[in-house]
């Protein structure tokens, strides 16, 4: 499988442990918790802007770290992946567990959801088995109050044996007390004595058999009782981690294996199979959580989630669920496309004015013309183009998308669409990464981190490119307007909308088809289990959304795009300006590609535009116009009518437009996306697969359509 350990966090964990030892003055605080508990809000509120993260916010699969200072002491806060448990085998849980276990944190803060405490206590109790230094942060107290749930924090603290602090992180309430408590635990002023889960006598006996031996092997570095229990439970991943972090190889330790075998035999004699044992362990933890929450929660209004249920009745209903989803997402795309027109042209004006100054500057320092042309007309102009066409749509799309995410709507989208993805042997959450892909395929691929199973994550990664991103919408819309709609007026713009919609639906269908095809061939396997929480709806925090989406997504993707676009700009300029036998390299290449492109219903220039458009799909049309007009640098035309005339003069028919739209939907991902795929999968093989699969699909689709239409004599 392409997802090596390196890409999925273990390596990042090592990195954190190393940084930690370098700055030994800082106290290390690990931040654990279930997903959807506002853990990221706590993290952000404590560290402010002083953090290092390049992640899918809220879905931290690799660790993010941040610093804060309290009473002249510096703390490094490590945000662990949100997990429900430390027992199961997902990568997130392994990362979280390994850090809690081997990261030598001075204290672990566990963020819990006050509105759903019992479920959260499961993780608290499990972490309490691993480490003593714990602060429990009961977050979302405001939400609980609104739902008339009241929690006796003092009692909870007594029952758990660790300090408990109530917070409403998004209002900043309780954070000072949290810092204060962290300080006291770290300095040993508060002694923590977790009340560990009591197992049944036979389990306890089994643990006691193994403990002395473990103690002899690894000393008191890690809770011996817990290690023993995990080993009896047959936790091989823990053995691996013990080996990698403590250099302690237990898997080949015959005495230990013998002891564990003996314990298993003894248990079996008493009628407890290893499976029963596991059930008993979890049973005990869940039961303990249940009884603690019963005692600590003073009044719980049992109908507190009626509002959520009513909203869900509409948003996931058989009749309205999918139409509402299409309307909402459609509105997001529409706002993005329409809203970015003006800022895009303003940005373009601004950046091209700078181009003028650059030209003057180069003239002033007497640079040779060709250097100026390469740097300014080639590199700078491409960069300016990419920035001005990419930045505004992303700056609009990502906040809107994050808004839906914060609201809690996105899991409902996955819920609504899961059935179709299950049929394609893919994961329901692929619906979300696909929607993200409409904004930007690179961002969609980063979003694939939310899918646990490596097989399904790869399927989602490879097929993400089948939905058109912001960069391809303008091409699709322009071509649809000028060729399919054929004129102006209400009816034609309606036809344009319908055809763009048809392309989107086609993209979704191809996504499902190719997902299924991959599942049946190179990525064989059964769909993994789909258990997804539909979290309570929450009031989004607008300011945080804007900051988060600008920094975590927009600038991140834009940065990658710029790195790709700069060298590509030079290549494009070179292709258009280096002349051999009275024709530019571009023309030569186009002529070479012409016969092949013809089979696909297009011409060589269009194919060259797609190839040179690798840095960003937005520049495909500008390159095409540049080549048709035999100019040396990219340009745009003032009106669609002008564009239509230019294309018709170059032999276009409606079939050319249709094929170009289809090829725009199905061809290799842009450079930024490819780079992102490589970063995420850490594999050239899967990057190559992600390149070739949509390309072949595009060739097949265009060939079929072009030849079919020609055979039928429709053109």
């Amino acid at each position: 499988m392409g997802l090596s350990k390196q890409s999925t966090g273990i390596n990042a964990l090592n990195g954190i442990i190393e940084t930690k030892s370098e700055s030994s003055d800082d106290f290390i605080v690990a931040l654990a918790g279930n997903p959807n508990t506002g853990k990221s809000t706590v993290f952000n509120s404590l560290t402010g802007m002083n953090q290092h993260t390049g992640n899918w916010a809220g879905k931290t699969v690799t660790n993010a770290t941040g610093k804060f200072t309290y009473k002249n002491t510096r703390y490094t806060l490590v945000d662990l992946p949100g997990t429900y448990s430390l027992l199961a085998n997902s990568i997130e849980e392994q990362v979280a567990r390994d850090f809690i276990c081997f990261g030598n944190a001075h204290t672990t803060v566990i963020v819990t959801d006050a509105t759903c405490l019992e479920r959260n206590l499961n993780l608290v109790l499990q972490i309490m088995e691993v480490t003593d230094k714990i602060v429990v942060c009961v977050n979302l107290m405001d939400e609980a109050k609104r739902k008339k749930i009241s929690i006796d924090l003092k009692k909870l603290s007594d029952l758990l044996g660790v300090p408990v602090v109530g917070t409403s992180a998004r209002n900043g309430k309780g954070l000072k007390e949290l810092k204060d408590t962290i300080e006291k635990v770290v300095r040993g002023e508060i002694k923590t004595a977790p009340n560990k889960v009591d197992y049944d006598a036979i389990v306890e006996d089994a643990i006691n058999e193994v403990v002395p031996y473990i103690k002899a092997l690894i000393g008191d570095k890690i809770d011996n009782r817990w290690i023993s229990l995990r080993l009896i439970d047959g936790d091989n991943l823990l053995s691996q981690s013990l080996y990698s972090y403590l250099n302690c190889d237990l898997s080949n330790n015959e005495i230990l294996l013998e002891i564990i075998e003996e314990v298993h035999n003894k248990l079996r004699d008493e009628g407890t199979t290893p499976k029963d044992l596991r059930d008993q362990i979890v049973y005990k933890i869940v039961k303990t959580a249940e009884s603690i929450s019963k005692e600590a929660i003073l009044s719980e209004n049992t109908v507190h989630n009626q509002t959520d249920r009513k909203i869900d009745d509409v948003l996931t209903s058989k009749l309205l669920g999918i139409p509402i989803m299409i309307i909402l997402l459609g509105a997001v795309f529409w706002l993005t496309i329409v809203g970015s027109n003006i800022p895009s042209s303003m940005l373009a004006d601004y950046l091209f004015r700078i181009e003028g100054y650059l030209t003057k500057f180069f003239a002033w320092i007497n640079t040779p013309k060709w250097i100026h042309d390469i740097l300014v007309l080639g590199m700078y102009r491409t960069l300016a183009w990419v920035v001005s066409v990419m930045l505004p749509p992303m700056a609009i799309f990502f906040p809107l998308f994050t808004f839906l995410e914060d609201l809690g709507y996105l899991p409902r989208v996955a819920f609504n669409l899961d059935h179709y993805f299950k049929k394609a042997c893919a994961h329901g959450k692929q619906a979300l990464t696909m929607c993200m892909g409409f904004g930007c395929n690179a961002a969609g691929i980063i979003a694939c981190r939310i899918i646990d199973s490596p097989r399904e994550r790869l399927i989602a990664t490879i097929t993400n490119n089948f939905v058109p991103c912001n960069g391809r919408f303008p091409t699709l819309i322009a071509l649809a307007s000028i060729f399919i709609a054929g004129g102006t007026g209400a009816s034609s713009s309606f036809a344009a909308v319908v055809s763009v919609l048809a392309v989107i639906i086609l993209g979704v269908m191809i996504t499902l088809f190719i997902s299924k095809l991959l599942s049946k061939t190179v990525l064989k396997g059964l769909p993994s289990s789909f258990t997804m929480e539909l979290p309570p709806y929450r009031r989004p925090q607008v300011l945080r959304i804007i900051i988060r989406s600008i920094f975590d997504r927009t600038l991140f993707v834009l940065g990658r795009a710029i790195v790709i676009a700069a060298p590509a700009g030079i290549v494009i300029w070179g292709m258009a300006n280096v002349y051999v036998d009275n024709a530019s390299l571009l023309t030569h290449c186009a002529q070479f590609l012409d016969p092949f492109s013809n089979l696909l219903g297009m011409d060589g220039y269009i194919m060259m535009a797609f190839i040179l458009g690798l840095p960003a799909n937005e520049i495909v049309i500008p390159i095409l116009i540049m080549s048709y007009m035999s100019k040396g640098s990219m340009l745009e035309l003032d009106s669609l009518a002008q564009m239509r005339q230019l294309f018709i003069d170059n032999g276009w028919t409606w079939l050319t437009a249709v094929c170009m739209m289809l090829f725009s939907l199905n061809h290799w991902p842009c450079g930024t996306t490819l780079w992102t795929i490589h970063k995420e999968t850490q594999s050239w093989k899967w990057t190559w697969v992600s390149f070739i699969v949509p390309t072949i699909t595009g060739i097949v689709v265009c060939f079929t359509v072009a030849q079919g239409v020609r055979l039928l004599g429709l053109v």
Binding site: E290, D312, F415, S529, M532
Partner: protein, 83 residues
């Protein structure tokens, strides 16, 4: 009171069921246990997704969507009321 065990995915919407048996193994079983689906846990069948599958259940205060493959491995005793 109906004493027959039915798979959770066949529990009608709006009905409550008490977990009696998990037939899943391995990591799927672990995940279920982690959700708190241990013996005697009361589960409410909340709603179907537009295509009928997955179905959302209320489990220990959280709303969890399960595909029919998973839910069919959770055997429950149907009960009318909480308790």
């Amino acid at each position: 009171m109906n004493k027959y065990l039915i798979p959770l995915n066949q529990l009608p919407i709006g009905f409550f069921g008490k977990v009696r048996k998990l037939t899943a193994d391995g990591s799927a079983r672990r995940r279920m246990l982690d959700l708190g689906l241990i013996n005697d846990t009361t589960v409410e069948s909340l709603r179907k997704s537009p295509a009928g599958d997955p179905i959302a259940y209320e489990i220990r205060g959280a709303v969890i969507a399960l595909r029919s493959e998973e839910a069919s491995k959770i055997l429950v005793e149907s009960i009318q009321q909480l308790g």
